[in-house]
Symmetry: C2
Subunit: 198 residues, 2 copies
């Protein structure tokens, strides 16, 4: 949030936490991170969250991979975080903008089919037309077939994780073409026991 | 995020998830919610998150209470969510704006002293001076003695839960005096085993 550590490049960041609702949470978190090829992103983990930064394709690739490897355990897990682009002053990690565009993890994930109920919110900063930009994103989700309703302060997506992550990526990327600084919060669940009761 | 469901009143909302990293997560979540007096807020839970809405004092009171009752179990738990005010169109729950200002839970919480390492980010919407408003909030946290550094896309707080929540509330309330629509993401941990390794 500090101006001093937030360049001019279109580097994308995702600060996230992975929450396994299990006594084995340490193993699940470490396992999901170890199974993910993170070589094309800047990465730093602290005691609260992990921050990855780089080209958009790789940030979204890594995010989906971490989620899917945790979710395939069958445990109730949640990936919760905030995507960001255009934060004024952000330059650290620019070297990661020189890599190719081949998603490192996609081939490993293709066969993992997991339902990914999601709530997300989009924040286009410093823009008077931001509510219209949010409405545009809802249309993207409707076309993708993942939109399942507006709720207070968020929108809901349901569907296969691949479709949900594609919706999130398309929404974020479409918005950042119109607004310099955009953030997007995501709360992506898996295997919730209360899923059927909602 | 839909315009159709987001008044004119200064109702505050907090959409949050409580994540206990434990096989007993259902009991911890239900226990924390049951131990909290939520009579002064509108409340709705779904399979991903809980949304509370009402006067700012009560929304922050309930948020702290839920966190502390979950954290006192000694388990690694996280309260993660987004505070919001001034979302264009928000009116449902206006009846909760008629209650008194006495915090229902504060007296029960006084003796619960728990360290609450926190990452938070403030999003003043539709305002060209938003980076200055964020800097103002950092000053609030410094005065409170809870600020422990800027990180990518967020700021960090450390300290007793009462001081951390007071910092969050003061930061949010000071900002919403200057900007109509403000959101603030919070990621508040407790009892993390990696705390010492950070």
């Amino acid at each position: 949030m500090s101006q001093s550590i937030c360049g001019k490049s279109r580097i994308v960041g995702f600060r996230f936490s992975l929450y396994p609702m299990s006594d084995q949470f340490v193993d699940v978190i470490k396992g999901a991170l170890n199974e993910t090829d993170t070589s094309k992103v800047w990465l730093k983990t602290d005691d609260i969250s992990t921050c990855i930064r780089g080209k958009a394709v790789h940030v979204f690739d890594v995010a989906k991979c971490v989620y899917l490897h945790a979710a395939k355990t069958g445990l109730h897990v949640v990936l919760n975080g905030t995507f960001s682009i255009g934060c004024p002053g952000d330059s650290e990690g620019d070297s990661y903008m020189m890599v190719d565009d081949v998603r490192s993890n996609e081939a490993d994930l293709f066969e993992l089919k997991i339902e990914a109920p999601t709530q997300f919110a989009l924040y286009p900063m410093n823009n008077s037309g931001y509510m219209d930009l949010i409405a545009d994103v809802v249309e993207i989700a409707k076309v993708k077939g993942t939109f399942s309703g507006g709720i207070h302060y968020a929108s809901r997506l349901d569907g296969n994780a691949h479709d949900v992550f594609a919706t999130l990526e398309d929404s974020f990327m479409a918005t950042q073409e119109k607004v310099s600084h955009v953030t997007m919060t995501v709360n992506i669940a898996a295997n919730s026991p209360s899923r059927k009761k909602a």
